[in-house]
């Protein structure tokens, strides 16, 4: 049986599934329910500085987009950091850590961008004997208007500066949580690394307006007729987060920087993908807020079963395995040829492949054969784009087949040409220039 134990920058947990800093981790009662359910760790909902508590709206904090059967595809929130008194939070964190010594308990922090504020809060948090801190440089709504959250995360110099202060003022491991609302995620990641952060976590939520109510002419779930952008999360953001995690994982300037991955983790498989891209732990929120804490049972059992199947004994055995396969476009083999093949025994003759290829792609599918409704690929036109396979409602009915023998009727070139990419391609202007 696979060993799911995790040791992330010295923070140990029985499994790599942590609850992300968010509403589910705002209070002791929730966190203890999560631990009882089997979660490996939590990042406590972001604490702010001492003083008058944060005020939240008293209307809809959350929005969502749904699939046809009310399946939550994404959520969005405009909740601010914890609105509970700092002392209550610190007391509860201390109690929970004492009661659950084997679980990871990291505390998320967001205070104004000056050294004293950070030094002061770090001292208080250290007293709780929690396992580490996560710097919330990510939330895109509300707090960013006050110069915190993503307002910091969007300026790499600030990220580096605050990370450095924190490392100077605490012995605890420091995780920097990154905002995705930025052009190139590598810059704040490098800044965190340079500032001495022990790890980065990503992604925080994505700027979002979920829907416009066309009767009210206002954002859906408005507050007294008005709405504001929130932060989006859930299954829909996973591809964005995967790309960002991969960018950091393969960035030489961030080599060895541990990653706690966040973004739409709903099942064990999502988590395994992030781990394959180098993440040491994964953080979950939307799935828990959709189904409750019990989902962790599916996650741990599924991940263990997969690792057993593949012969990975530990998380470290699996971690980062897919990173070498991520590359730049210019390094893709341009002599690799694949073409679509429609498996007639599986085809239900809906014709979606035909119409999308005909209307929007390469006119590479025939709709009939000898007067009968039969969909077949015209290899003389097929560029192997995959669109037909993606829109086909039957899994496995259309596949891309790697061509290795013969001549491509589309290009007249043999299929078995040796690998070559854009960097050596004759059409590449930079090569032509170099030759001149």
């Amino acid at each position: 049986m696979a060993d799911l134990r995790s040791n992330f920058i010295g923070i140990k947990s029985p499994n790599p599934f942590w609850l992300a800093s968010a509403p589910p981790t705002d209070r002791k009662v929730n966190v203890e329910r999560a631990f009882r359910a089997g979660w490996g760790g939590v990042v406590w909902k972001t604490l702010g500085e001492a003083g008058p508590p944060i005020v939240n709206v008293s209307g809809a904090r959350y929005g969502a987009i749904h699939g046809p059967d009310r399946r939550v595809i994404a959520m969005n929130n405009i909740e601010l950091i914890t609105d509970r008194d700092l002392e209550i939070n610190l007391q509860e964190i201390k109690e929970v850590k004492r009661a659950w010594p084997d679980r990871a308990l990291v505390v998320s922090l967001m205070v104004p961008c000056d050294e004293d504020s950070w030094k002061s809060i770090l001292g208080r948090v250290e007293e709780t004997e929690c396992d580490g801190v996560e710097l919330n440089f990510g939330c895109p709504h509300g707090m960013s208007e006050r110069g915190m959250g993503s307002a910091v995360g969007q300026v790499p110099e600030y990220v580096e500066m605050v990370a450095r202060w924190c490392k100077a003022h605490t012995r605890m491991p420091v995780i920097v949580k990154l905002t995705p609302n930025i052009t190139d995620i590598r810059h704040p990641a490098r800044a965190a690394n340079k500032g001495g952060a022990d790890a980065v976590s990503l992604i925080n939520t994505i700027n979002s307006i979920m829907a416009i109510d066309l009767d009210a002419m206002a954002p859906a779930d408005a507050i007294d007729g008005k709405g504001t952008h929130g932060g989006m999360c859930g299954p829909a953001v996973k591809p964005i987060a995967l790309a960002m995690v991969a960018e950091i994982a393969r960035d030489p300037a961030c080599a060895g920087l541990p990653i706690s991955a966040i973004g739409g983790v709903t099942t064990w498989g999502d988590a395994a993908e992030y781990i394959a891209l180098g993440a040491g732990t994964v953080q979950v929120c939307t799935a828990a807020m959709t189904y409750g804490f019990k989902i962790v049972e599916e996650m741990t059992s599924g991940l263990a079963a997969y690792m057993d199947r593949k012969g990975y004994g530990t998380i470290e055995d699996l971690r980062g395995r897919a990173v070498p396969s991520i590359t730049d476009w210019q390094h893709l083999n341009l002599n690799y040829v694949a073409k679509a093949e429609i498996h007639q025994d599986l085809c239900i003759k809906c014709g979606r492949c035909y119409i999308v290829c005909e209307d929007t792609s390469h006119q590479a599918i025939f709709a009939s054969l000898e007067g009968k409704r039969r969909f077949t690929v015209n290899e003389a036109e097929c560029v192997g784009c995959n669109l037909c396979a993606l829109v086909c409602p039957v899994e496995g009915c259309i596949t891309l087949v790697h061509k290795t023998r013969g001549v491509d009727p589309r290009t007249g070139l043999p299929y078995d040409r040796p690998a070559a990419n854009w960097t050596t391609h004759p059409n590449n202007p930079s090569i032509a220039n170099a030759a001149e």
Binding site: G67, P68, D69, R70, I348, K349, C350, G351, R352, Y354, I355, A367, R373, P393, V394
Partner: protein, 455 residues
């Protein structure tokens, strides 16, 4: 039809076998309408196929993927309009079409998983939103001065009249009965069209204007085809099948409680209170089509203890679809194949049972080996087919085959200026949806022939 209530003992035929509440529940909607959420989920199952097989399977060629996508997008009335553009009786067809042998059989999800998109229910969801107490969403065309006579206010007649109204052609419908709708109103099992839907739909169609209906006027009796040809620019015959087939057995016309199923269903549909309709404690039904199934199931739901359908050939030859046969069986009706009635029995002029002879088929010909059995019953329903009444044409030179009118692809008869459609024509499938298509095509052809703007 002679139905006589008799005390138990001799022959037990009585009304009110079940209390009103039970009967009401027995005759409730067979397929309850989809809720908005169900409709949304079901609509998302449609693959929006290229050159959609469902649309091709629909006699009226409704753009099914488009209307389903409109439902998914929340445009329910737009979906209804897409349906009505092809089939103004989309509401009734959603209820009575044998979708399992039409659109839903062709649905690629039927091939994929044996679970087609519920096209019929979605069509009902869309059309219900518009029909209920609403005006036709179509505008009557500017008057062209042309006038067409339509005989019969059933599906074919109403569809033709509606299409002609859009084209600005005035119509007068001559209807022998007292209400519009034809078999929608007088035939069809009650649990398929609850809450007086047939009447609502007819009112919805007629609301476009430019359609006058004269009730109680029968062709051949009250009005002559020759006069209609003289007085109108064109004539559309949608007279249905006016007569039913007989068993051809001795005593058939004499015994009480040997009943024509079509007439019984009409009485049932028109009954204000189903507890007043007499039904036998034991009923036997002869036939294998929809009429036989409908009368059998409804008899059971009125409270008959035992109902047996006897059909002379195998189940696969029955015109009633598998769904309908199963509906009968799950309603408690016994279907007995390979037998036909040989003699009717009675006491004192009242039906008491029938003798059936076993049958088998040899090189396509039915034969009886000689063995017989007897079914004792209080009522016998005949549901062995309807036939045309070409005598109503008054000897007009219109080509007729097997009692039905011969038409071309445009629904023209062999007589100049006369079109025909619905159950009365050759090749008809005796379906509401086919009748609507006939009316639609005839209207197109009439509009073209009259030289007015196209419908």
């Amino acid at each position: 039809m002679t139905i006589a209530a008799h005390p138990p003992g001799l022959s037990d035929v009585a009304p009110g076998r079940l209390d009103g509440a039970t009967i009401q529940s027995n005759f409730a909607d067979l397929h309850p309408p989809l809720t908005p959420h169900e409709a949304k989920v079901e609509s998302e199952r449609c693959y929006f196929c290229f050159d959609p097989p469902c649309q091709k399977a629909c006699p009226t060629s409704i753009d099914i993927p488009l209307f389903i996508r409109q439902i998914a997008g929340g445009n329910r009335e737009g979906a209804a309009k897409t349906i009505f553009d092809a089939n103004i009786m989309g509401g009734m067809c959603a209820r009575v079409c044998p979708t399992e042998t039409l659109c839903e059989e062709a649905c690629v999800r039927e091939a994929a998983e044996g679970k087609p998109v519920s096209i019929g229910l979605l069509q009902r969801y869309a059309t219900d939103a518009v029909i209920e107490g609403r005006q036709s969403p179509y505008k009557r065309g500017a008057p062209t001065g042309k006038r067409v006579a339509i005989v019969g206010a059933g599906p074919a007649g109403l569809a033709c009249a509606h299409a002609l109204a859009i084209a600005g052609v005035e119509t007068t419908i001559f209807e022998a009965r007292g209400k519009p709708g034809g078999l929608n109103e007088y035939g069809i099992a009650a649990y398929k069209t609850v809450d007086r839907f047939a009447a609502k739909e007819a009112a919805f169609i007629l609301s476009i204007g430019g359609i006058e209906v004269q009730y109680g006027v029968a062709l051949g009796r009250d009005v002559k085809l020759a006069d209609l040809r003289r007085d109108y620019d064109a004539v559309f015959l949608a007279i249905g099948l006016g007569a039913t087939n007989k068993l051809g057995l001795p005593k058939e016309g004499e015994l009480e409680n040997v009943v024509d199923a079509v007439a019984y269903i009409a009485a049932l549909r028109q009954a204000d209170d189903l507890t007043t309709l007499p039904v036998g404690r034991r009923a036997v039904v002869v036939g294998g089509g929809m009429t036989a199934i409908d009368v059998a199931v409804q008899s059971k739901r009125l409270g008959a203890d035992s109902v047996t359908i006897v059909y002379r050939r195998g189940a696969e030859k029955m015109k009633a679809s598998l769904f309908e046969r199963e509906l009968a069986q799950t309603s408690g009706v016994v279907i007995r194949n390979w037998a036909r009635p040989a003699a009717l029995e009675g006491h004192a002029g009242v039906f008491s049972g029938a003798v059936f002879e076993d049958t088998h088929e040899h090189e396509g010909v039915l034969a009886s080996p000689g063995s017989v059995f007897r079914i004792e019953a209080d009522m016998l329903f005949t549901g062995i087919g309807q036939r045309g009444t070409p005598e109503a044409l008054g000897g007009a030179p219109i080509e007729v085959k097997d009692g039905r009118i011969v038409v071309d692809g445009d629904r023209r008869t062999s007589l100049e200026g006369v079109w025909a459609g619905g159950d009365c024509v050759v090749g008809g499938e005796d379906l509401t949806v086919q009748a609507v298509e006939d009316g639609k095509q005839a209207a197109r052809s009439i509009v073209a022939a009259l030289g007015v703007a196209s419908a």
